[in-house]
Assembly symmetry: C2
Homo-oligomer: 363 residues x 2
């Protein structure tokens, strides 16, 4: 699987570079067009329920010194990536930035990491190949899985078969930077439960929630890394498992849910690769704050602004979200998921989650 | 092992509560004395090479309403912890804060998490039992190990035998919140290499550095969690392995080294449990910035202040550190560990680390 991907990614990169030569031959000024990556050029795709780029494009063309320099950097980067794929190596985004200092042409070197990160995003969009398939790693992810699932991970030192309950410690199975190296062998899972905080993830594991309910507990660790979102999508699409998201009851956590379910502006070109539009939100819901009388904090001004901007956000324009967000603005309060501990350490696993999952039709 | 620890921890907590009753019986006003936890009351212990608290004490006494409330909270918390140990449960620091809302006496409830965190620290110091032995977890750690070591982890669902190269994916073995649940079975390791950033950790694993040099690669992930420092100390003390620290070349990273080697002010009562005074610093050293002509950033004002305050810090008052810090102030520059990529992706594993480890007498 992976070797094929590598070959394909390499060919697509080389095609890209070849385009510049073709343009030269045709007497055209070399150029590359990419969709504009701003909020104004993001469209909600009704069919696939995800965010994608619209029709606006910006062009990097060699008819200015600045544009020519951009293309030069792109060509050097393409060469580096093609070599990296041929040698089955990988590198971090940060390493690419530093590595450019070793390139013979000073004009091709990056001025800062934003520039090299941005170029990699351009290349992803133009080539249709994901960064992971270029073998470019982010800094780190740290997310982990616990539940009744046996996987095979293709590591650079051989395959590893791992059961995500029996073969791991209390910390669970560490998701690799590129989860497409994982093959799902077999599983007894009924659903996926993505959890925002480490404290709640540890609570669920200690209480044996994954064993009792055949849940795959995926730790998001705040705003989830691409690797975590990709794995979640694969669990949904390939194993046909319902995906649920359990987060704090505040606007920032609704955005975490949104990025799992619908994708983000920064990676709209990858929504079909990363987003799970069928993902459902468990809570903490504003309605839970009222119903369970949870300990709360007052909404800050920035919380209120964030909630109001969510009301304008097409991703949240459903009856469910409008009702919840308006309720939250009315009560003026927010609660963390760990605040369920105010009703005892077992309340979340004995009462709250089973009730919510039944309501949602997952259990 | 763990059951004994639990029993002991429980007894020490109950002894503590019993003291208050004894004080009542003797006609004394109940009180509890703890060392003052400020910079002024930190002493460098020459014998053990770690930081410990000095003689200054503050007393929480029931002769004021405020003091009485503190003791009340302590008694409720002791009861909760003793029950938790008896039932072999655990909880997070955040859960304790929320849980207090369920206590029948409103005066015993915590006002914020700083208060409950502080009380747990008080109880650690007064009882001589660590937070881990109270079964109180931090939010999360995320650190991981890769290398020739086979461990047995006692999880709450049975023992797990795991080889930290053969039984794990590319992400490595996830260190649990309480690493004292780990038993070292056997190993072929020659030394421990603690690495600051995830990007460098991934580089070393991809390049097979742990295999070629029989290194245990411990990912610190910035300022290391207690669990990571504890595991590092145990690897040193129990397996007799040299410990080395590989971090960025800036004052904040020297502090990371300092916290592995000498402990910190916040946890000075735990230095003997957490610190590895024999740990050696590999780099990035200011001398490396010059020798290898690494890409640099200029020192900011806060970098300069931090370096100057390190010159005053007894932990850094060695010829080695004085020379390095003065050199850095002179050149006015800092470099990240990933900047070694400017000399190629293999430079760190083929050249830099082997050279430094030889100089240090580790290889």
């Amino acid at each position: 699987m992976s070797a094929d991907n590598d070959q394909q990614a390499r060919e697509q990169l080389i095609d890209l570079a070849a385009q510049f030569y073709d343009q030269f031959e045709l007497g055209e000024i070399p150029h590359m067009s990419v969709p504009t990556r701003t909020k104004n050029n993001i469209e909600y795709d009704e069919d696939s329920d995800v965010w994608v780029y619209g029709d606006r494009e910006s062009t990097r063309s060699a008819n200015s010194v600045r544009g020519a320099r951009k293309l030069l950097k792109a060509v050097y980067t393409i060469e580096f990536l093609a070599d990296q794929l041929e040698q089955d190596r990988s590198s971090t985004l940060r390493e690419l930035y530093y590595l450019s200092e070793s390139w013979d042409n000073k004009e091709a070197q990056f001025n800062d990491q934003d520039e090299s990160n941005g170029l990699i995003e351009d290349l992803e969009i133009v080539s249709g190949v994901t960064r992971e398939d270029f073998h470019m790693r982010p800094e780190e992810s740290g997310a982990k899985v616990m539940g009744p699932l046996r996987i095979r991970e293709q590591t650079n030192r051989g395959d590893r078969d791992i059961h995500c309950q029996l073969d791991v410690g209390q910390g669970g199975y560490q998701i690799p930077n590129n989860p497409d190296t994982i093959e799902f062998l077999d599983n007894d899972a009924d659903f996926v439960l993505c959890v925002e905080t480490g404290g709640m993830r540890d609570r669920l594991v200690e209480n044996g929630f994954d064993e009792e309910y055949d849940a795959l507990i995926v730790h998001l660790g705040g705003q989830p890394a691409r690797a975590t979102r990709r794995l979640t999508k694969r669990l949904h699409d390939e194993l046909d498992l319902p995906v649920t998201v359990f987060a704090d009851g505040d606007p920032w956590s609704y955005r975490i849910y949104g990025s799992v379910a619908y994708g983000s502006i920064k990676s709209a070109h990858l929504s079909e690769y990363l987003a799970t539009p069928e993902a459902q939100y468990i809570g903490i819901q504003p309605a839970d704050i009222v119903e369970y009388e949870l300990p709360t904090d007052p909404l800050s001004d920035s919380d209120i602004n964030a909630l109001e901007s969510e009301l304008e956000d097409p991703r949240f324009q459903t009856d469910y979200w409008e009702e919840q967000i308006e309720l939250q603005l009315e009560i003026g309060k927010k609660s963390e998921q760990q605040s369920l501990a105010a009703r005892g350490l077992d309340f979340v696993t004995d009462t709250y989650l089973p009730e919510r999952l039944s309501e949602m039709g997952v259990l």
